[in-house]
């Protein structure tokens, strides 16, 4: 393969845990061909000079992701980089930021765990049956995530990342890009689950936006963009969690809903909120009328003297009683077991007290409203 016209010296980092205490450098001067990639030189050394040199490679067309190494200090796919762009001496070392197994071979188990951690698969509330056929996805929807699906897992970005160097637990560029890729996929419903992962251990917020990952990516995936989009999603997720119940997700309704009494009661309980909203609105109207003179007040009273208004009040009263009974039922359970030396009274006493208070307040208000006292 070699034409012998030109020679280069390769300074290769060697380490065999069976024999070496620490990595060492070994030099090989070899004739090189002008068309060679860096990998061709390594294979020449392996075949012709030193069969003990260990490195990974397979497809030699920049898609299997096996042959990433540090070439002159930069993470590179060795099957992709033309030798001609390097000088007479080329330094080849294992990918930085990974434990070394031997020579140019690094341990990828940590990356594999991080990849699994971000749930890089389609998540759906309900799995589709194959009989339903392919889902529709417009070319525009495909374009949303396509770039991030180009990651070949070569891990050059982990070698380039200054954060990974200091915080090995950082989920890291490639894994975040792949998780984010699924969250952007119109067929996926798992973004919320992944946002929890992105906020969790080794979170996306560790990223200091050095952008080194995107600089070295041989497939132009731009993982830095994915990481920072994921940051924004994680922040929004945190904020919605803070403000809305269930993070704003609709409630999960079981199939037998609304036929089960338990869920019926729960729903009615929630629905009474609408009644209080309307009642509040009416009170506002009444206060405004009262402040606008007697004519307006009387007019208001007149307009409300009809069957709908009375019916509404009747329903509101039933709702209030219903909520009151439910609420009183919970109240004794909500007492702390003791406050200092004071124990709460027995359940029966609390209940009787509550109902007595309720009836008392109602009676007083009725008397006030009927004008019997003042």
């Amino acid at each position: 393969m070699s034409d012998g016209h030109q020679k280069k010296t390769f300074v290769i980092t060697r380490f065999d845990p069976d024999q070496d205490e620490a990595p060492r450098k070994q030099s090989y001067e070899i004739p090189v061909h002008p068309d060679w990639k860096v990998l061709d030189a390594l294979n020449f050394i392996k075949d012709e000079i030193d069969a003990t040199l260990s490195h990974r490679w397979s497809c030699r067309m920049a898609v299997c992701g096996s042959c990433g190494m540090m070439v002159d200090g930069e993470p590179r796919l060795t099957c992709k980089e033309a030798l001609s762009q390097y000088g007479d001496t080329v330094d080849v070392a294992p990918l930085a930021n990974f434990p070394v197994v031997r020579d140019l071979v690094i341990e990828a188990d940590g990356f594999m765990e991080k990849l699994t951690h971000v749930k890089p698969w389609i998540i759906r509330a309900k799995e589709l049956a194959v009989e339903e056929g392919p889902m529709r996805q417009s070319p525009g929807e495909l374009e949303e995530f396509k770039q991030f699906s180009m990651c070949i897992n070569c891990m050059l970005c982990y070698s380039a990342c200054p954060v990974v160097a200091n915080e090995p637990e950082f989920i890291g560029p490639a894994a975040i890009a792949l998780g984010h890729r699924y969250s952007l996929d119109s067929r996926d419903e798992g973004a919320a689950e992944r946002n929890k992962v992105f906020r969790g251990e080794g979170s996306v917020f560790s990223c200091s936006f050095a952008n080194e990952c995107s600089e070295v990516c041989p497939k132009h995936v731009d993982p830095a963009a994915a990481v920072n989009q994921a940051k924004l999603n994680a922040v929004i997720d945190w904020a919605t969690d803070l403000v809305l119940p269930r993070g704003g997700e609709p409630p999960q309704l079981p199939d037998h809903f609304p036929f089960s009494g338990r869920y019926l009661a729960y729903t009615l309980f929630d629905l009474t909120g609408i009644l209080y909203l309307l009642l509040g609105f009416l009170v506002l109207c009444a206060v405004w009328s009262l402040g606008s003179g007697e004519a307006v007040w009387n007019d208001m009273l007149e307009r409300h003297r009809n069957i709908f208004y009375l019916g509404f009040h009747a329903i509101a009263l039933v709702g209030l009683i219903f909520v009151g009974i439910r609420f009183f039922g919970f109240f004794p359970k909500a007492q702390p077991p003791r406050v200092g030396p004071v124990k709460p009274p027995p359940k029966g006493v609390i209940l009787v007290g509550l109902y007595a208070l309720w009836i008392g307040v109602t009676v007083c208000l009725s008397i006030v409203l009927a004008g019997g006292v003042f």
């Binding site: 065999d16 845990p17 069976d18 024999q19 068309d35 392996k46 075949d47 012709e48 069969a51 003990t52 260990s54 490195h55 990974r56 490679w57 397979s58 497809c59 030699r60 067309m61 920049a62 898609v63 299997c64 992701g65 096996s66 992709k80 197994v101 031997r102 020579d103 071979v105 990828a108 594999m112 990849l115 699994t116 749930k119 890089p120 698969w121 389609i122 799995e127 589709l128 194959v130 056929g133 392919p134 889902m135 529709r136 996805q137 417009s138 070319p139 929807e141 495909l142 995530f145 396509k146 699906s149 180009m150 990651c151 070949i152 897992n153 792949l178 699924y182 996929d185 067929r187 996926d188």
Partner: protein
Amino acid sequence: MIEVTRHDIVIVGGGAAGLRAAIAACEVDPAASIALVSKVYPMRSHTVSAEGGAAAVARDDDNFEMHGYDTVKGSDFLGDQDVIKYFVEQAPRELTLLEHWGCPWSRNEDGTVATRAFGGMSTKRTWYATDKVGFHMLHALFQHSLRFDNIVRYDEHFATKLLVDGGVVRGVAALDVRTGVVRVVLGRAVIMATGGAGKIFPFTTNGNIKTGDGMALAYRAGVALKDMEFVQYHPTGLPGTGILITEATRGEGGYVINSEGERFLATRDYGVGTKAELGPRDMISRAIIQEIEAGRGFSGPYGEYVHLDLRHLGEEKIVARLPMVREISKIYIGVDPVHEPIPIRPVVHYMMGGIDTDITTATSLPGLYAAGEVASASLNGSNRLGSNSLTECLVFGASAGRNAMAFAKGSSEGSEDALRREGEEEAARIVALRGKQKGGEKLSRIRSDLHQTMESGCGVYRMQETMDETARTVAQLRGRYADIALEDSSTVFNTELIAALEMGNMLDVAEAVANSAASRNESRGAHTRRDAPNRDDQNFLYHTLCHFDPAGPRLGKKDVTLGHWEPEERKY
């Protein structure tokens, strides 16, 4: 010393077929323990290099009958017709599942999955994800498989032997590349899914890992290798490296041009008729060789070649549909196909032959199943149509997963003592080979001699004399292989040891290829003889079986399943 682990089934190979089998096994029984043994991390598997697409009926103007007929005709009527029918019927289902699992198929404007034309296919039925289909399918399958806790991966474990007890396969012995420990991985059924063996040839699209390991393991365990003489040359490989330029270039409208600027596939009679560039691979490879032999090729530092011209497609279409072709051409041959034609020549691509299986992926050895390129279920006969193989991995991978699970349910575990002993013997063999200093042969010499003889005897055009010569040379190489000397005695990531074990596998496969080829005195599909240029259904409409024997391979025959399509002259 030896470590024994036990699972329900063991899958060897983590490419499309192996991963699909593992997922299918999980679907059968979510509680089952599935071992996935692969000599590389699964996403490094060679499926990753497939480019053009995966075939399945999708359009209204298409049907199973048409896909079946195209396939059987492409196979030069050596495909088993029941297998072909099963395959075309399962194909849309499998590609739909891939869609549900996130594969980013390219889309039509209305959001349906897009399809493109491919060689030998009578309509657009090839699903694609630009021109990185294998990459996207492999990663979608692998990432989907990560959700199943019960798939226990043995990454970078090199399976070296099938463990058989009482006539039934019970597991494999596998070398942990990282530690040098040999593990006995036991299961009540084993699926082989290790892919092809292109590395027995010097000039191939195949990656470094495609050394025919699964074929050799089955062969040595007594299972026949079937139709090994049929080696597919892909018409469009880059001179020098052999890197694949996808058939989708022609599917999208590219031209093949000789040194006189002539579109010879359209203007001369090479049997492809009006299909021209969309003819099947065997015919186009032969046409290119004939053009070069007639002096109408170009000469370059890496031999003679012709041109693949995409310039008329325009930059927009090339960027949208064939981005990888452009990327590869620029990096590996310094040509931008938007502005210049790409130099190409036929290159070894795919083994139609493989482990002899039936329609259920079962082999003659109880408990052993095989799927994907490593197997020969006789879907592809003597010539595979482009884009059938990715689908084949899914259809037969899924079938293997289900059938192996069913077998495992009814099978016993075998004698652990006997299996452990077998594993210890295998470990002893590997330890003896590691850093073996006594011997006079060099691994890289044996490899280059093997390459040379395979190319001269089992190329696109073949002759009795050279095939016999190759068979003899391979037998001699076996002798020389026994005398190799190795330098690396380390237990940790010893790639020289792996290469030596792979060389043993390659010699087994090469033996089967050369001897099967020398026995078929006709031209059919990819097996083309200058001294017997015609197909001979009278005498050779059968599958070749090659059985291992320490004294030299024994050849046998197996009937072709016909019944639906009558063999006819193959003209397009």
